[in-house]
């Protein structure tokens, strides 16, 4: 059991899903997945997560591309396998049907031929033969007509089923959008609660002389230890740098988490790490990913008013 957990946590499933493994290693992972449902489930989740990430980057190709690409693809996939083209298949069906017909007619003719042995009337024997060929021709024509009708119905049915899939796609996309919107609404509600709650203390962070234009607000709840940050303005950072929030507790800086780029641009409230107690909050610029303790001068700072209530 624990071995499986360690295996899952080793990161090999991520490597598998990202296509980093050699064929032998891939086979080994597939064998593990076949043997252990936990591994299988985890792998499916990793793949679904990456698929989700990929799908999030969807870009509808230019409309003109559709005809072009599909035509080229059809030409390429049809060329080597001529026998499998619909026309050839149809023709083969037809040949088979027509070649079956005369033998059916011959079979039904046999009793007549048997009678003819008893009463050999030559003109009578010829008549059924010619009417037989008329019937065979009529049957062939009927068969051709019915094949044509079938082909037509088949193509209509295909159109209908592709319309259906298109509608299903549309519907699932719509459902997705609704889900996302609902989730975002939930988040906004939560943010609203934070903003309206009396338990939260608003700490205004004011820019130091290094960054006089910086304005932000920290919302700190000493009871639940929740911390949110709300940026009004922060200068954009060069690549590889990121803002980091610190709580100052008894003069010591405690990492309160990295400020996401979207937050720094003022997009949203961001929930930060939980902080047990703080007298002040400060922001520094750190290398992307953050530092264990502040390495750069403070960009903005603000004290928590009446913080020592607890």
């Amino acid at each position: 059991m624990e071995n499986i957990q360690a295996y899952i946590e080793s990161g090999i499933l991520e490597q598998y899903a990202l296509g980093e493994l050699s064929p032998a290693e891939q086979a080994a992972v597939e064998a593990e997945a076949a043997r252990h449902p936990e591994v299988r489930e985890e792998l499916a989740q990793v793949q679904a997560a990456l698929g989700f990430y990929a799908e999030a980057h969807s870009v509808t190709p230019p409309a003109a591309m559709r005809e072009r690409v599909l035509a080229n693809v059809m030409a390429q996939i049809a060329a080597p396998a001529t026998a499998a083209t619909p026309n050839a298949a149809l023709r083969a069906d037809l040949d088979a049907a027509v070649s079956q017909n005369p033998s059916a007619a011959a079979a039904s003719a046999q009793p007549i031929a048997g009678e003819a042995v008893i009463r050999p009337l030559t003109p009578a024997a010829e008549a059924p033969a010619s009417s037989r060929s008329v019937w065979a021709m009529a049957a062939s024509v009927a068969l051709l007509l019915s094949l044509g009708a079938n082909a037509l119905l088949y193509s209509r049915w295909k159109d209908a089923s592709s319309d259906l899939v298109a509608l299903q796609n549309e519907q699932s996309r719509f459902a997705t959008t609704t889900q996302v919107v609902e989730r975002q609404l939930g988040e906004l509600r939560q943010e609203n609660q934070v903003l309206r709650s009396d338990e939260f203390r608003a700490v205004a962070l004011v820019g130091t002389k290094d960054a006089p234009s910086t304005r932000a607000r920290v919302l700190f709840n000493p009871a639940t230890h929740k911390v949110y940050v709300d940026v009004k303005s922060m200068p954009a950072l060069p690549a590889g740098k990121q803002y980091q929030l610190w709580a100052l507790a008894d003069g010591k800086p405690v990492d309160a988490g990295m400020i996401a780029q979207a937050t720094a641009e003022g997009a949203d409230l961001q929930e930060m790490k939980e902080i047990a107690s703080a007298q002040a909050f400060a922001v520094t610029i750190e290398p992307a990913g953050g530092s264990a303790s502040p390495t750069m001068p403070i960009q903005a700072m603000g004290a928590v008013a009446a913080a020592s209530k607890s």
């Binding site: 296509g19 969807s58 190709p61 559709r66």
Partner: protein
């Protein structure tokens, strides 16, 4: 559980598509295109970063998917995962051979990342609403690692080297990021 993911056609429709492709029904490719081209093209474009090449790769991928369809095994994973991998591999091959031609193995992380950042939002605007959420939920350093792994075709060790981080850190961040993503699906 993973069936509720956004990626999927309804399972019945996916099974139907698979059946038709297995039966070598060429008209199914049109359906396939209509369903998956946006997702596949988005990924291919993010990797090769040029419209004409992205079209070539998409076309090549569709032909390959048709010819290799016998090797798709539904018990090993979803159709989308399988076709996505084919597209990713072809795209990564493309940029590798291009880098070979130009003679510089990697253009350096900063260049490639800024190029990516600029190319994506201005000329191409992914229409999927989920992207916004992802941007909010993944901290930048997680997103950077996922992008390098997924869209630049880096291995985890190459990422570690490029970002000057311990391999263990890269693995942990990649795993955490993927966890965050799978939470978003549910």
């Amino acid at each position: 559980m993973s069936d509720t993911s956004l990626i999927s056609l309804p399972p019945a429709a996916e099974a139907d598509l698979v059946r038709r492709l297995q039966a070598r029904d060429e008209s199914a490719m049109t359906l396939f295109y209509d369903r998956y081209s946006a997702a596949l093209y988005g990924v291919i474009f993010r990797i090769v970063k040029a419209e004409d090449e992205a079209e070539d790769v998409l076309q090549e991928a569709l032909v390959k998917i048709w010819h290799a369809f016998a090797s798709y095994d539904a018990s090993k994973g979803r159709l989308f995962t399988w076709v996505l991998n084919i597209c990713r591999n072809l795209s990564i091959d493309k940029i590798r051979s291009r880098q070979h031609r130009v003679g510089s193995r990697t253009q350096g992380l900063d260049d490639s990342l800024t190029a990516q950042r600029q190319a994506a939002p201005t000329t191409f605007r992914p229409e999927h609403i989920g992207l916004q959420e992802i941007t909010q939920k993944l901290v930048p350093e997680q997103r950077q690692i996922i992008d390098l792994l997924y869209f630049e075709g880096f291995t985890q060790s190459e990422v570690a080297e490029e970002l000057n981080l311990p391999l263990g850190t890269v693995k942990t961040r990649a795993r955490t990021a993927i966890k965050v993503l799978s939470k978003l699906i549910r």
